[in-house]
């Protein structure tokens, strides 16, 4: 019974997110601009350097998975802002008085953010094709890559909700979000192989869930080297479970 209530709330939260998107699509489009610039400008310039060992892959193709993930994870990392806003208004209070458990609110919102991320990626994906990025034409691989994108975005949205439940105000939340996003991106294999990094940064990249997501998506979409993909999925699943649990537990704090 309680599980039913919770599942219902999760689905309702996903539907809410989809309805919001349908009413205002501008955000999805404007957020696509930055990753497209990464590919078209940064990617094009850096591909002339030819010093980055990409394993024979063109540089734009090499960074496409990273840029795709970065653009969706940006959305997720700031998803907590929605929660902060809902806390300032009475929406959260009202949701907490509904029959579902509190974890359903957290997980439902995180999944909803994951769905939003997939929609976001679907807009960048064709642009990347137009820029000449060669994807492996295997529907199962593409599907698995999008699944990874969905899972990692949901995890980062839960992380964001966790931060929101501690920070509580917009200003403090923005501070943490900004501080988090750059290291997340640069201390990963999104733009260059980990082997190029100094040892300290390598150890950060090793615990950075984004590294595993990029590795899997790159393997599935670009290089076709899928040997590590199961391990990458395992790492991201562990991250998701941990962060969902932590965010659900700390969510109580947000209304107090």
């Amino acid at each position: 019974m309680a599980l039913n209530d919770s599942l219902r709330e999760m689905f309702a939260m996903i539907e809410l997110e989809m309805r919001r998107l349908r009413h205002d699509r501008t955000e999805i489009y404007t957020r696509a601009v930055q990753p497209i610039l990464w590919l078209a400008v940064y990617g094009t310039v850096m591909s002339h350097v030819r010093d980055i060992p990409t394993g024979g892959i063109p540089y734009i193709d090499y960074i496409t998975p990273g840029v795709l993930l970065q653009s969706t994870i940006f959305v997720s990392v700031f998803y907590g802002l929605t929660i902060v806003w809902e806390r300032e208004t009475g929406i959260l209070k009202r949701l907490l008085v509904a029959p579902a458990s509190r974890y359903a609110t957290v997980i439902g919102r995180a999944i909803a953010s994951g769905v939003r991320a997939v929609v976001q990626a679907l807009i960048i994906f064709p642009v990347a094709i137009l820029l000449g990025v060669k994807f492996i034409p295997n529907p199962i691989y593409i599907f698995a890559a999008f699944l990874m994108l969905f899972m990692i975005s949901g995890g980062f949205a839960a992380l964001s909700i966790f931060v929101a439940s501690l920070m509580k105000t917009r200003e403090r939340f923005m501070g943490i979000g900004q501080a988090l996003i750059m290291p997340l991106f640069f201390a990963s294999n999104a733009l260059y192989p980990i082997s190029l990094m100094p040892p300290f940064l390598q150890s950060i990249a090793f615990v950075n869930p984004l590294t595993y997501a990029v590795d899997a998506v790159r393997g599935l979409m670009i290089s076709g080297d899928v040997a590590n993909v199961p391990a990458d999925f395992a790492a991201v699943i562990v991250f998701d479970i941990l962060i969902f649990a932590v965010a659900s537990i700390s969510f109580r704090k947000i209304i107090e």
Binding site: A12, H23, G90, I255
Partner: protein, 340 residues
């Protein structure tokens, strides 16, 4: 068992301490009858909102028991949540979707079966007079419309108790009236108990069946509005004294004369049944327990003094007076404690 059925809410010695310091609720005892409209009055920071948030299972109380239709708000919180509707003080709808969609999301959260869903949503919208505008985006609604939409969301599941935290705060008089008229109709139809917080005394007076006043985390007075007003036992009689300056027989005698003023007040205060008297400009205010009895005696005194009257007005106490008496004064002891 029978008494549990009649009572919508039963609260015993409820205490809530924030951060181990502030006693937001300090031993609340309260009962609310089923199918009535109950108003909780209190100054800002008196614990009204905290009490409502404990009753709606958002907070656990530090000590004490609270039950909604027999369900404990801590132990049976899941059951409580299924029978209550709640509208917080702050705006609580999503503004980037339509009014209808807001209710749709709540209908899904509450598991209204899909066969009845659309019908229930339109019924709730109609009961708040929101059916015409339901397909417009909420960000274009006025404050009164948003509040009615919020109440419609809460009415969707036909709750047994509807909790409203300052339901008409910031609304204009016609929007307030619309909210209350719709609520009364709904209540009559479904027998819902309405529990609301307010500091609009007129609203409590006009729409509630029972009132309680909370101050410093304790219920200081409860009963029907008219019981509370009668309990004050104080009516104010205002005498507008005729201007003595126009009196040709005695032109020097005027109310501006402080000696005369004092003498008059002393004489009136000396009468039985008089609680207090004061004189400002040409208005004499006398506070009495029972105006019908005291009035002839006061007139007699004024006549002896040769003062003529222009008008007499008897003011019965309002709920404002009740509120000021029970919640207006801060307990000096507590203030000291807070200062220290």
């Amino acid at each position: 068992m029978e008494s549990a059925l009649e009572l919508a809410i039963e609260i015993k010695q409820l205490t809530k301490v924030y951060d181990g310091k502030v006693n937001a609720l300090d031993g609340v005892d309260l009962t609310v009858k089923a199918a009535g409209i109950f108003a909780l009055l209190g100054p800002n920071g008196s614990g009204k909102t905290t009490l409502m948030r404990v009753l709606t299972t958002q907070f656990r109380p530090t000590a004490g028991v609270a039950r909604a239709f027999g369900y404990d708000v801590v132990k049976d919180d899941a059951k409580v949540r299924k029978i209550i509707g709640y509208v917080p003080q702050e705006m609580s709808v999503w503004t980037d979707i339509t009014g209808f969609e807001n209710l749709l999301i709540y209908a899904k959260i509450y598991g209204v079966p899909s066969s009845r869903r659309t019908k229930s949503i339109w019924e709730a919208l109609q009961s708040m007079g929101m059916d015409d505008v339901a397909n417009g985006p909420v960000k274009k609604y006025s404050g009164g419309m948003i509040r009615r939409l919020e109440i419609a969301c809460a009415l969707l599941i036909k709750p047994r108790i509807l909790f409203l935290d300052e339901p008409t705060l910031g609304l204009d008089p016609s929007a307030r009236k619309a909210v209350w008229q719709n609520l009364e109709t709904f209540k009559r139809e479904f027998g819902t108990t309405v529990f609301f917080n307010t500091h609009y005394m007129d609203e409590a007076d006009q729409y509630s069946d029972e009132v309680a006043i909370i101050n410093q985390g304790r219920i200081v007075k409860s009963g029907t509005a008219s019981e509370l007003k009668c309990s004050l036992r104080s009516e104010i009689i205002t005498f507008a004294l005729a201007d003595r300056g126009n009196d040709s027989r005695n032109p020097s005698k005027s109310m501006a004369d402080p000696g005369l003023k004092l003498k008059l007040l002393e004489k009136i205060k000396a009468l039985d049944l008089i609680d207090d008297a004061s004189l400002q400009a040409s208005n004499l205010d006398v506070v009495v327990e029972d105006g019908d009895v005291a009035l002839p005696a006061i007139i007699e005194v004024l006549r002896c003094e040769g003062i003529r009257l222009e008008r007499i007005r008897v003011t019965k106490p309002t709920l404002d007076d009740v509120f000021l008496k029970y919640a207006g004064m801060r307990h000096p002891k507590k203030q000291e404690r807070n200062a220290a």
